[in-house]
Symmetry: D2
Subunit: 147 residues, 4 copies
């Protein structure tokens, strides 16, 4: 399926519609195979011992799957997560950003499913694995037609 | 199984060992049936439309399961989440705190499993359902003996 | 929400539409709180050591959630599982049937979510915990009108 | 990590220790990247409409992850599934075997995590996605030393 929002469009969408998380996440790749998204790790993401918190990894997976879906259907802001499953595999490296490599497994009329592996930058061993389901509202076509 | 950390002990533990999240979460019940924990919702937890973000609900579930485990085994800080599964069921009510009602389903030597239902305060319809697995380190007994 | 299929109607539906599993499962309760379903354990469900296999527990959870949904919306045969998460907590007791106690957490227009605890008959400690999402086809109303 | 059980050894292990499922599953690949396992679909796996049942897909995922773990640690029969998460993405093609392509994401001392994509033979679109956690008993080394 065609990519209808590229890296610039996705980052602009995040900055405009999600000011709360602005500056924390950055999409770095959006192509036919999926998305790569970065968590720019700061003090607020850390837990005792200098490791990135579980909720921060969850947020990165969520942003990456969301952008993977939007990259194919356009800026449908009402698209929502309905289910997520996450396995925490290893301790993230201290002082490193996290990268989520996400692939879209299904894009149906009403549901999209994707999974992501999360890595500490520079490492080949994933720190987490996540799969998510997104619900796409029926208003999708109208909305897309308006943009 | 006996409750070895009560509400006061759990809140004191969170405040001391997790300064990053201090003031956001509060344990309100810890008994033989499980835990109730509150997310004191503020601006930083919200998404467009005034709804609480998915990662904030994930964080509340995580804190509630963590405290449910600690309430039985004592302050074992190295206990870590290995798996989480979450279903987002309804939009949280605007301007309401969230409450997680958590029950411990298994407490083994190395793994603990719990689930939680999350509600907007004042409502009986859950906004999310979550189950989590925690890994308990072998050092548990030594640590518990020291406290 | 009203229960529109009772225990007899659900068992008759399973026998007619799922001849492959006939005689393995039996609905024993269907009320406003949810469903109880039984796996009549036989040799084919066992693994080495006399324990019930994971796929058999998964099948029981699936039947219980399916019947919990149908008990509210009527015999919509096209309703399908889209997601399942299961935790195996303890070894089932040898020579005992399994009982799934299922509660419906959400029944939306297109998605239903339920969870279930599975017990060896006569025990209060769950052997497994499961949550599932079902997708309900748009044909629902037409189909219901025909019955 | 080195592969210590090859395709022949894994199939011989399944036939000897799991007579209940003999003839239903066959390992077809076991290398550094993971496992491919086949479900030889028969009448007993089908649901109304000729589609493979959810529990049959779950069983295939379970066998593939189990064999992926054993291929690295040897025939540790007490290794058990503790958690599984599965998404059903598409209807399997009628009259086709299913293939699970499994990759091992973590092999720790006590926990192993893998995921699998399941395909109808001859198709590139996955019908299901699954991730699983296995618990490896402490007896592992003794057992391995005895074989």
């Amino acid at each position: 399926m065609e990519v209808v929002m590229d890296v610039e469009a996705l980052n602009a969408f995040l900055a405009r519609d999600f000011p709360q998380i602005d500056g924390q996440f950055r999409v770095e790749r959006a192509d036919a195979d999926g998305i790569t998204a970065r968590l720019l790790v700061n003090e607020g993401h850390l837990r005792p011992g200098g490791t990135v918190s579980g909720p921060s990894m969850f947020a990165l997976a969520d942003v990456s799957v969301y952008c993977a879906v939007l990259s194919r259907i356009g800026p449908v802001a009402l698209t929502v997560t309905t289910n997520a499953s996450i396995d925490f595999l290893r301790k993230p490296a201290a002082g490193k950003d996290l990268l989520a490599v996400c692939r879209l497994l299904k894009l149906g009329r009403s549901l999209a499913v994707a999974d992501a592996l999360i890595y500490s930058e520079g490492s080949d061993d994933p720190v987490a694995r996540c799969s998510m389901t997104y619900s796409i509202p029926p208003e999708r076509r109208v909305f897309s037609a308006l943009k």
